[in-house]
């Protein structure tokens, strides 16, 4: 038997320092163990709670692993067709300019099938927040190659690794979007360590706060893990992410307050 290390006497409301936000429903997340989707969902929900905007938010769910994101957020949401979330969000924000509107999209949704909708919503400068989960693979359909799959990275549709000569190059869409005049805040974050989670939450908060300014798209890429698709344990996956994903998709702000961030290299 395991020993009991509970300290029930300190479990009082005044000592509470962390509790799941009420903006998330009690539905059990369908994501695989250790998946960054869950963490990112929680951060968005925490920001919504902290800003007190639960009744003012309309979210758009994508097609991909997070297709049922609306089961987890206790807010009004719409389910888009694959890749079309930015078109829905464009319309929602235009008919409800006073609401906070966000899309939640994966790499296949945002950077392959929905590239057109993404680029044009960003270029028009829609006053919305886009949360982009990049785990370099199609998780829901079983681990196929994504637009962001790294060179030489194996997936089920490039089992011997992504040969860029044959399969083309990974798309750094975040860098591309930062160049557009319609984006106001573009950043790349991650959620696999406590420090990174705290930083990502600040970014998400800023992305929602920016909607009050009406200056254009706030775009947050979350470099995330797909343990099932990568065929690694969650702990191995975050190590692989740090060693392989982050050198190719370096973390940090690309554009702040409408100005490109100069890299000091």
């Amino acid at each position: 038997m395991t020993q009991n290390f509970d300290i029930p006497e300190i479990r009082t409301p005044e000592n509470l320092v962390y509790k799941k936000t009420s903006v998330l429903t009690d539905n059990v997340l369908h994501y695989c163990p250790g998946c960054g989707h869950g963490t990112t969902h929680r951060l968005i929900a925490e920001v919504i709670e902290e800003m007190g905007i639960q009744s003012e938010v309309i979210g758009v769910a994508p097609v991909g692993c997070s297709v049922m994101a609306y089961n987890y957020f206790d807010i009004d949401m719409q389910e888009a067709a694959h890749g079309r979330a930015p078109a829905l969000a464009t319309a929602i924000k235009r008919v409800f300019p006073e609401k906070f509107v966000f899309t939640y999209q994966g790499d296949g949704d945002l950077a392959a099938i929905g590239t057109g909708e993404t680029i044009h919503a960003c270029n028009r400068g829609e006053n919305i927040t886009i949360i982009f989960i990049n785990n370099a693979i199609y998780g829901m359909t079983g681990g196929q190659m994504a637009p962001t799959t790294l060179p030489d990275m194996p997936t089920s549709t490039c089992p011997y690794g992504r040969d860029v000569k044959i399969m083309g190059n990974p798309l750094k869409i975040t860098e591309l979007l930062a160049m557009l005049p319609g984006t106001y805040y573009v950043t790349r974050q991650a959620v696999h360590s406590p420090a990174l989670v705290r930083r990502a939450k600040k970014a998400i908060r800023m992305a929602f706060e920016n909607q009050k300014l009406d200056r254009g798209v706030s775009f947050i890429e979350i470099v995330s893990n797909c343990n099932s698709g990568w065929k690694l344990t969650p702990v191995q996956a975050i190590k692989w992410l740090e060693e392989n994903m982050l050198p190719f998709y370096p973390l940090g702000d690309l554009k702040v307050n409408g100005e490109l961030v100069k890299k000091s290299e």
Binding site: L16, K19, C35, P234
Partner: protein, 73 residues
């Protein structure tokens, strides 16, 4: 200097045993159980009373199953 005592409450039925909390804990409070929950997952457990309530485990938990308390004692 006031000592800080923390405690975490883990919803073991919702825990999927990913171990990210275990990696994130600076005081090695957490480990993974030998038993499984009703869904068949090994779940996070406390293996000592060293918790200082830093919340790192809860912050990285993808499933939001950890509640954290912290008291000055």
């Amino acid at each position: 200097m006031a000592k800080v005592q923390g405690d975490v409450v883990i919803d073991i039925e919702q825990c999927k045993g990913c171990e990210l909390c275990n990696v994130a804990c600076p005081l090695n409070v957490l480990a993974i159980s030998a038993e499984v929950n009703s869904k068949g997952y090994h779940y996070a457990i406390k293996v000592n009373g060293n918790c200082n309530g830093c919340s790192n485990c809860a912050v990285v938990c993808p499933d939001g199953v950890i509640t954290v308390y912290r008291a000055k004692v």
